[in-house]
């Protein structure tokens, strides 16, 4: 078996107000696969993704990116060089409103990877093209629709050419029309053989169509883990059945 692109072992995390949110979660994402995180709201999906994105240091546990330890419980400092190899798309696009779509996308390659301006520009164009947003290049986020913003946010993450792209319910803030527009972009990315993705989502159609593997989170623990077709079999786990509204 090859080295996982992203691996988390025994992640525990508590928030001062919410208490224990993750209670020993382990996730293994193989390269060039799509991994789905499913679970009800409040099950800990977002916190797990934030830990995987190296935005939060877990209280306990280890996270490895391509076999290199990025975080372990004792070491709270996260290496910036490893963090940039994990891309993240948030529920809200969180675009930088003072920059154009291109400015948003080329900022990190230029400032973080120190790519020359010309190359950063062509990288930005390529990334925008991948999300069908090349025509939005010179627009500011304030002039874009919600779906367009989310697509630019995906392009922004792609331009860093991350080892793994994490998506935290990227359509939850959108209406059905716009959801379809973003989902189709994500589906294209997911079906693209080169991409490694972790997607937290409620959208079971999306999971069945694209995911290779799946983790079901309930109350801070992973109750079901395995290939995506596991979801098709009732009786694996009562909580999963309840979540999927199966009798």
């Amino acid at each position: 078996m090859s080295t996982p692109a992203l691996e988390a072992i025994g992640i525990r995390k508590h928030w001062p107000r919410a208490g224990q949110v993750l209670d020993g979660c382990s996730v293994r994402v193989q390269p060039r696969t799509v991994h789905a995180l499913i679970g009800a709201s409040g099950s800990g999906k977002s916190t797990l993704l934030r830990c995987l994105a190296l935005l939060e240091a877990p209280d306990e546990g280890t996270i490895l990116v391509e076999g290199t330890t990025a975080v372990d419980g004792a070491l709270q400092r996260i290496d910036d060089r490893i963090r940039r190899s994990v891309g993240m798309v948030f529920q809200e696009p969180s675009l930088f409103p003072h920059l154009t779509a291109r400015g948003n996308v080329e900022l990190a390659p230029r400032r973080v990877l120190r790519v020359p301006p010309d190359e950063a520009r062509s990288r930005a164009s390529a990334a925008l093209d991948r999300v069908h947003a090349l025509h939005l290049t010179d627009r500011h986020p304030g002039d874009l629709s919600g779906g367009e913003r989310q697509r630019v946010a995906i392009a922004r993450a792609l331009a860093m050419q991350p080892t793994v792209l994490l998506c935290d319910e990227p359509t939850s803030a959108l209406d059905p029309m716009l959801t379809r527009e973003v989902t189709s972009v994500l589906r294209d990315l997911a079906l693209d053989a080169g991409t490694t993705m972790v997607v937290a989502t409620h959208d079971m159609d999306f999971v069945t169509a694209t995911a290779d593997s799946v983790d079901f989170l309930h109350a801070g623990r992973i109750r079901v883990s395995g290939p995506a077709d596991l979801l098709g079999r009732p009786g694996t786990d009562p909580e999963l059945d309840r979540f999927l509204r199966r009798p």
Binding site: S94, P97, H98, R156, M160
Partner: protein, 512 residues
């Protein structure tokens, strides 16, 4: 401000003990720096109404003659009258010639020469009250206006006038105006000032009997004994050879009381027209006045335009350190903001201008800590406003949603890169309107640096106004200049805001 003075005087006096021999330094420099307040009005040292750039007055002539006798050049130093002693202690000047009465309180902190002028107190009342009020006794129970800190105050107190009836003004012309307007029933001034300001005004009458005579003398630092001896020798010569008598005659100040000081009258000399003190509203030299006001407005603009950008950027730096700096430095910066915002700008200006050089002398580095008054003014305005701007920036920086920080962090931007490329470009747009507002208020606050003698708009307007008996018209003229500067600032601000607003901020709901 008078409340901070005792403290400042004590501080400066304690440090001035280290001062070395003033005469040797004065001779070595070839300059006698004499201090006065040119906004104090005629006939001491004041802007010539016919040419506001020229300072004239009987004390100007005494100072020039004194310098000539000492074999050096006279150089005038101007500051607010109440700050002159501090200025001398801070070595901004060598001696003071500006109507300083010899009082026991002052003798504790400075040394006085022999007197050069003798005066008495004289009451001025409204013309229609001339029969009613004929002495201080007939005014029992009436409020009386005086010049703040002058001998008239002590005079009224020793005569048993209740403190609440002694109304003090910072301005020598105000007591007369207040009497005319009926806010007080009389004002008390030195007799020659009363004659100068009220003698030609049909609405006012002088109460004939004068009382409480006193004298003016030149002020030097305590311990400058050699300088004081030279000044006294020169004054003695001026008194006996008729020079002083002639100067006093020229300014219409001669009376027989002067002989009591040993002053010879000298040859009969006509009084010059500037000394008559007639209201000259019809004949104001407006073109010269406007030219003076324009240059003073330019000084105000320079003070503002230099200090505001410094304040803006320093404020941003302070806010960033307070929010993101290491804890001890952040605490220090927060303390700076609290102290600077919590104390009057005027006190800060005084401390920097008068106490810093004294501190420098004490530390043995006087040159390093003795700054030019315009520099002190700019530093004070910038440092004071930086504290206010820091709060504006802090609020704007905190208004940037945390999701922006998350997005930047996820892209691998460092904290500093996030501040530089993401947060500050956005917070700047939020803070701009408040900064423009402060710029507007700084234009007017800049007039406070006139306390240390910077000839900015308000000080120049007041000086000309008092010298030409046209304070209200000069204040209106100054207000028009201030309004023009303020409108200009607003116009520039609007352009900046429009440029910033060209990029619409994203109205993003914060979920979670």
């Amino acid at each position: 401000m008078p409340r901070v003075l005792p403290f400042l005087i004590a501080l400066a006096a304690a440090m001035a003990a280290t001062a070395d021999d003033g005469l040797a330094r004065l001779r070595a420099a070839g300059v006698m720096r004499w201090g006065c307040d040119i906004s104090g009005g005629a006939p001491f040292a004041f802007p010539d109404p016919a040419d506001p750039d020229r300072v004239i007055g009987f004390e100007v002539e005494i100072a020039e003659d004194l310098a000539r006798r000492l074999g050096v050049r006279a150089e005038r130093f101007s500051a607010d009258w109440l700050a002159l002693i501090d200025a001398m202690d801070a070595d901004r000047c060598d001696l003071l010639i500006n109507g300083f009465e010899i009082t026991p309180e002052r003798e504790r902190v400075v040394a006085f020469s022999t007197p050069y002028f003798r005066y008495a107190q004289q009451l001025v009342v409204r013309a229609e009250d001339r029969e009613r009020f004929t002495s201080l006794d007939t005014l029992r129970g009436s409020p009386i206006a005086v010049l703040n800190g002058s001998a008239s105050v002590a005079s009224l107190r020793s005569a048993g006038v209740a403190p609440e009836l002694i109304i003090e003004y910072d301005d020598s012309l105000a007591p007369f105006t207040e009497t005319v307007l009926g806010r007080v029933d009389a004002c008390l001034q030195e007799s020659f000032i009363a004659r100068f300001f009220a003698g030609q005004d049909p609405r006012l009458a002088l109460v004939e009997r004068t009382f409480d005579p006193g004298v003016y003398a030149i002020v030097t630092r305590r311990g400058d004994d050699a300088l004081l001896a030279e000044v006294n020798a020169a004054l003695e010569a001026m008194r006996t050879d008729g020079t002083l008598g002639r100067i006093l005659q020229r300014w219409g100040l001669w009376d027989d009381a002067q002989s009591a000081l040993g002053t010879q009258r000298g040859p009969i000399t006509p009084t010059i027209p500037e000394a008559i003190g007639a209201p000259a509203d019809e004949g104001l030299p407006w073109s010269l006045i406007l030219w003076s006001l324009t240059r003073a407005a330019a000084m105000t603009a320079v003070l503002t335009l230099v200090s505001m950008p410094i304040a803006t950027f320093a404020g941003l730096g302070l806010a960033l350190v307070i929010l993101h700096g290491p804890r001890p430095i952040s605490r220090i910066c927060h303390g700076y903001v609290l102290v600077t915002r919590g104390t009057p700008l005027l006190v800060q200006i005084f401390l920097l201008y008068y106490s810093l050089p004294a501190l420098g002398a004490w530390l043995g580095i006087p040159e390093l800590l003795t700054w030019n008054k315009v520099v002190v003014g700019i530093v004070c305005l910038a440092a004071n406003y930086a504290a206010y701007e820091a709060e504006i920036h802090r609020a704007a920086l905190q208004a940037i949603p945390p999701t922006q920080w998350d997005a930047a962090k996820a892209l691998g931007l460092t904290r500093w890169q996030t501040i530089r490329f993401i947060v500050v470009p956005q917070s700047w747009r939020l803070s701009l309107p408040a900064i423009i507002n402060d710029l507007n208020s700084l234009i007017k606050d800049s007039s406070l640096v006139s306390m240390i003698g910077v000839q900015e708009l308000l000080a120049v307007a007041l000086g000309i106004g008092k010298a030409s008996f046209a304070v209200p018209s000069m204040l209106v003229a100054a207000a028009a200049f201030y309004l023009a500067l303020s409108l200009l600032a607003d116009w520039c601000g609007q352009r900046l805001e429009r440029r910033a607003a060209a990029v619409r901020a994203l109205p993003e709901p914060i979920q979670r």
